[in-house]
Symmetry: C2
Subunit: 193 residues, 2 copies
Amino acid sequence: MARKQGSHSTITGPKVFAAARDLIAQHGFAAVSMRQIAREVGVQAGALYLYTPDKQTLLFELMRSHMEELLTALPAQSGGFLEQLQNFTEFHLQFHLARPELVFISYMELRNLNPENFAIISQMRKSYEDRLEAILAGGDQTQEFVVPDTKLATMAVIAMLNGVNTWYRPGGRLALTDVEAIYFEMVRHSVGA
Amino acid sequence: MARKQGSHSTITGPKVFAAARDLIAQHGFAAVSMRQIAREVGVQAGALYLYTPDKQTLLFELMRSHMEELLTALPAQSGGFLEQLQNFTEFHLQFHLARPELVFISYMELRNLNPENFAIISQMRKSYEDRLEAILAGGDQTQEFVVPDTKLATMAVIAMLNGVNTWYRPGGRLALTDVEAIYFEMVRHSVGA
DNA sequence: GCTTGAATTGAACGCACGTTCAGATACTTT
DNA sequence: AAAGTATCTGAACGTGCGTTCAATTCAAGC
């Protein structure tokens, strides 16, 4: 997809993806045109096709690379399940609050993926959810947690954590570490620990 | 906006809003054309303008009427705060799971509202959230709950409940009453009750 | 300084968009 | 049956869309 480094003064490739990311997060995939992205990059629309074969692939690549980074960055867990749950909670909040645009896109624009691409992203998302579910199931077995339904608890915790992205703004009333502490407290209680 | 009852064989007005609701929920506001909506209704595109002055107002009216119904349907609360919280939880789940399309639209398409319309819908949403916050704040004061931060707890509970719409399908593994019970259990725990 | 090849332009392609409106049609009222 | 009114059609308006591609510009290697 991306070519070798440009011979012009600045590197266009990364700018294309950054511009697409910001514009799509703000206005939505369907509402953003290739010409708008090109204008943001400082280039004519035709030049974008040096960096993506088409608009659909541009969206997919944003989401795929985001999910890949998410799965790679999630550390392998060890220790007690409560400690694992805390690690997961803090990781999730830090990772998601650091890239609000990609997070927003990755679940608002799922319906604009073609079926093959949708399947790929869905599966990556499921891998991530499975990591949390394993913690909850483990903790339920050792009776560190009380979880009536593992699947539901997984979805509930993830939804709760994702919600932070709708209201948190850096420099607001609470620092990130405050948010982490309060949310972990609520997560912990919600699984009966 | 909507005219008197049609003189043709069937009533077109409601069909317009129903078609718009279903198509927008599926493909997104920006991706749905007036011609697609018209085709679904069984009419030419021009006829839609008997029922809405423009596309933007069509979206706004879907969201406004949905939020109005939500605020009207939410029963006035009485009794202990824990009981109020249970009532709220069950109401929220029932109301939202009964109209997944409008729920989806009402928070996915906020960015496609013009500024005035956005302000109106946001304020209605805030009214709803304030109802829950009042319960949590009340319960915190009577020490029925332990809530470190009322605002955060409100957002967390609403996000958790909204998450149900992403996975619940009628006829699935769990009946609605099961879901209500399990979620109330998690909500209750998350506020320390 | 000439050659090479990547990067970019700028115009063009067919198509769909939201919206308008004069004219046609269907129904209600008299 | 005629008049009146609500409903709808069908064509048209200007505009912008994703994508392609021959021609041009640019930077580097010889």
